[in-house]
Amino acid sequence: MEAYFNTLADALTCKLTGEEVLTLNFGGEASDFVRFNQSSIRQAGSVRDSSISLDLILGACHAKGHTSLTGDQSEDLSRLTALLADVREMLPCLPEDPHLLYATEVQSTTQSGENRLPEAGTAVDSILTAGAGLDLVGVYASGEISHGFANSLGQRNWFSSHTFNLDWSLYHETDKAVKCGYAGFDWGQEQFEVKMAAAAAQLQVIKRSPRTIPPGKYWVYMAPAAVCDYLGMLNWDGFGLKSHRTKQTSLLKMIEVGTRLSPVVTLCENTRDGVAANFQNAGFLKPDTVSLIDQGQHRNCLISPRSAKEYGVATNGAGAGEGAESLEMKAGSIPQREILARLDTGIYINNIWYLNYSDRPAGRITGMTRFACFWVENGEIIAPLNVMRFDETIFHAFGENLIGLTEEREMLLDPETYDGRSTSSSRVPGALIEDFNFNL
């Protein structure tokens, strides 16, 4: 695919006239998706999808186009040529864009992952074998993901990886279940079986009679998956420069009145150790890391090229959405084995669900407990918890009320597949928090 993309890019570059500049972004996947319910196959299929987005620039005027590709060079060139012509026809209607910024220093890179994936049927057989006698629900996604960038200045960037992502839960009844995830580049049968065994063990606890608790403030332990989701809200108008400069960020208190998070909170965008491409769609390379919050203090925003131009600062490789794709949180000092004892009495939260801002300027986030969440007394897991709604600010939860973070962290690969299979990831510890507010 890389060679094919470069061929198309070269051909299109030849079709430019005068001072025109062209940028191209390629996106493609060849994925298998197998969906399970009740340890049977619900829907199974494959998706082969590739497309190119282009930005035709003349001076400070530009317009964008996008087309899907067939993989047939003649047909694709024909589509791209027609698209280029249509976009070119738009330019005279358009004013200059004062916020246009694209990479002009040529920095070409290539990252091509090796395909070590099992044949889809092999993994599916393993999953169904392990799920026999259980109620297994979820999805196995696997295949190649590709991204490419090219411009008429000669820059070429390529990223491809072959990954799998099994996202599943084991159900007891109604909403009582254990959630699991296994993702990576190599299917390890032993590793998968260890995860299944751990989930099956937790399922035995799920089968105990559930506890309902009244709304109020409780000590909680948030496992890494829950921490990932809670902090992941900051990808929605939290980290981005545009949200900061237009006062819409959920971290507004940090920039307006200097509010800090706990000194143990250090967050960065770590592209070097993530699984995403190291370039963004205007051709800028991402730095290895961008410090976002350091020991509780705000350090940097994620800055897209447009925001950089608008606000007169340097871009740091962020995409248009200015969200983190490889979020990393520094580990803490609490050994995982001590968590239950330190929690003493409270709620052990493995997963949370359906988060939203309930008061964005105040950093207040609401959501639900979900899957394996337990009531704990005197350091012992007593019973599964009936779902509870929380409504708590990040400044409390990861500020004054944060007791500590675990020494151990988990690397979580995002299973999301809305506009194609995600290459985002998070590496985060668990968090012990006091007085976490539940309101329903």
């Binding site: 047939d72 819409q248 008061d359 329903l440």
Partner: protein
């Protein structure tokens, strides 16, 4: 292009008990103006097919953007392979389902085709409306957007089915944000909740040009407003919030595939069980909910769903009693219960699953003034800005941009950050009054997310304003 692809496909069609070919071709244009700066105008084209095979009980699909004969052949082969692989380990024997063979057409009703308006005029409209939004120094961000989509859906079956549906859709938006210190408030119109079928005329139908003075005045009001009060009281919801209340706590819990457990790993399950269909009191006598694919300009009107079932209006909840769930032909077969034609996919690259389409609350007889007059103590809320609900679709919490206290039958002071929470199973039984046709508005969102793999699809919700009693209301920090 469609004819070419059909011809190529007929040369490589799989040998199977049943196959279908679903081709979707779309063209989109996105115009956005932010702080009076035109953002890059984008035109997008996408075309691909999904081939579905049912054979010896198994089901498989393959989607591809490669529309060459070899690409279609490869996809057909993949679909067959998945059908074979899954046939003894599938959730059901798909060969027991008689798949529809639709023949017919649909076209969105259009008065002023989008393409008949020159691009400079389309851009100018967005620019000129945006220019009316910066009316105060406290306003720190303002924008307008016009998102146009044109889609053609071809559906062929091995049993002689052939349908062609053409959709044209517009999702306009406008928003303004004001700030003072660490307080920021916004007012918006459309953006993600006012999608409709139609062309340029949609802007006139939704009174797009009337909104700037309303939004700019209200956002400044909000900045100076007190926090929404806390307490259990009456709640009057505008259509711009009602649509999402319906969506989250009626639409999703009634999707039959959720009731069957398909979504339990992702979007969740439901508090509704099959036994409730026909008898369960979902809401007060005033609650009448319909699945209606026939409203001419509503976002998700169509003639056939993506499994080829003919779409017809059905009553889902009648006088508060749950009658029917929202499930297409596969779910109906699995449950042995009737449903509706709502087996839908967001595009060619995702398989159809049960999706609410147009789900509407039928208007009542109360005027807005009647509903206000009926309230001793309460809050009126409009324009959703926050939504969250549990995985069984029961414990919800919503927030709106704008609230007004209602006191002794009169609208009183504006309040900011109005939020409310509740439980679906009891909330709808507290429906006290439903608004008349004057309060009825056709809403539509392009962003309903569900499914594994994930897909975001458009849905429509037409609803009047409604009054509820004994709702837990609260404000911001």
């Amino acid at each position: 292009m469609f004819d070419q692809v059909i011809e190529r496909f007929r040369n490589v069609a799989p040998r199977a008990e049943f196959w279908s070919l679903r081709m979707v071709s779309s063209r989109q244009e996105y115009i956005e103006v932010r702080q009076d700066v035109l953002q890059p105008v984008t035109t997008a084209r996408d075309i691909g097919v999904m081939i579905t095979v049912i054979h010896r009980g198994g089901f498989g699909y393959a989607a591809t953007s490669n529309l060459t004969e070899s690409g279609l052949k490869a996809a057909a082969s993949q679909a067959c392979a998945w059908a074979e692989r899954s046939r003894k380990i599938g959730i059901l024997d798909f060969s027991t389902i008689t798949m529809p063979a639709p023949t017919g057409e649909y076209r969105s009703p259009i008065r002023i085709p989008w393409q008949s308006v020159p691009l400079p005029e389309r851009i100018d409209r967005a620019v000129s409306e945006c220019a009316r939004l910066k009316t105060d120094d406290h306003i720190v961000d303002w924008e307008t957007s016009l998102w146009f989509t044109e889609e053609d859906h071809l559906f062929l079956t091995s049993t002689g089915g052939e349908s062609l549906q053409h959709f044209e859709l517009l999702t306009p938006g406008m928003s303004v944000t004001a700030n003072e210190g660490s307080e920021t408030v916004s007012r918006s119109f459309g953006g993600f909740d006012l999608g409709r079928q139609g062309g340029w005329e949609v802007l006139e139908e939704i009174a797009f040009a009337d909104q700037p003075p309303v939004l700019t005045e209200e956002v400044i009001e909000l900045l100076a407003a007190p926090n929404c009060p806390t307490g259990s009281m009456n709640l009057l919801l505008d259509a711009s919030q009602m649509y999402l209340q319906i969506h989250e706590s009626i639409g999703h819990p009634l999707e039959l595939d959720r009731i069957l457990g398909d979504e339990r790993n992702y979007a969740g399950t439901s508090f509704v069980t099959p036994e409730m269909l026909g008898t369960y009191r979902y809401g007060s006598d005033l609650l009448n909910i319909t699945f209606d694919p026939t409203i001419r300009d509503e976002f998700a009107s169509y003639a056939y769903d993506d499994d080829g079932s003919k779409a017809e209006k059905e009553c889902i909840i009648r006088n508060g009693i749950l009658e029917r769930g929202l499930g297409g032909i596969t779910s109906q077969a699995r449950l042995g219960l009737p449903g509706v034609a709502n087996s839908r996919a967001c595009s060619w690259n995702r398989p159809p699953i049960d999706r609410m389409a147009n789900l509407n609350l039928e208007p009542g007889v109360s005027s807005f003034e009647d509903m206000v007059a009926a309230v001793e103590q309460g809050v009126y809320m409009k324009s959703n800005n926050s939504w969250s609900i549990d995985d069984s679709r029961n414990k919800f919490q919503f927030g709106c941009e704008y609230g007004r206290v209602i006191r002794d039958g009169q609208l009183a002071e504006v309040v900011k950050k109005p939020n409310y929470k509740g439980i679906s199973a009891t909330f709808w039984r507290n429906l006290e009054m439903t608004g008349n046709q004057d309060t009825f508005f056709v809403m539509g969102t392009p962003h309903c997310g569900k499914g594994e793999p994930n897909q975001a699809i458009r849905v429509g919700h037409a609803t009047p304003a409604c009054l509820f009693s004994n709702v837990d209301i609260f404000g911001g920090e």
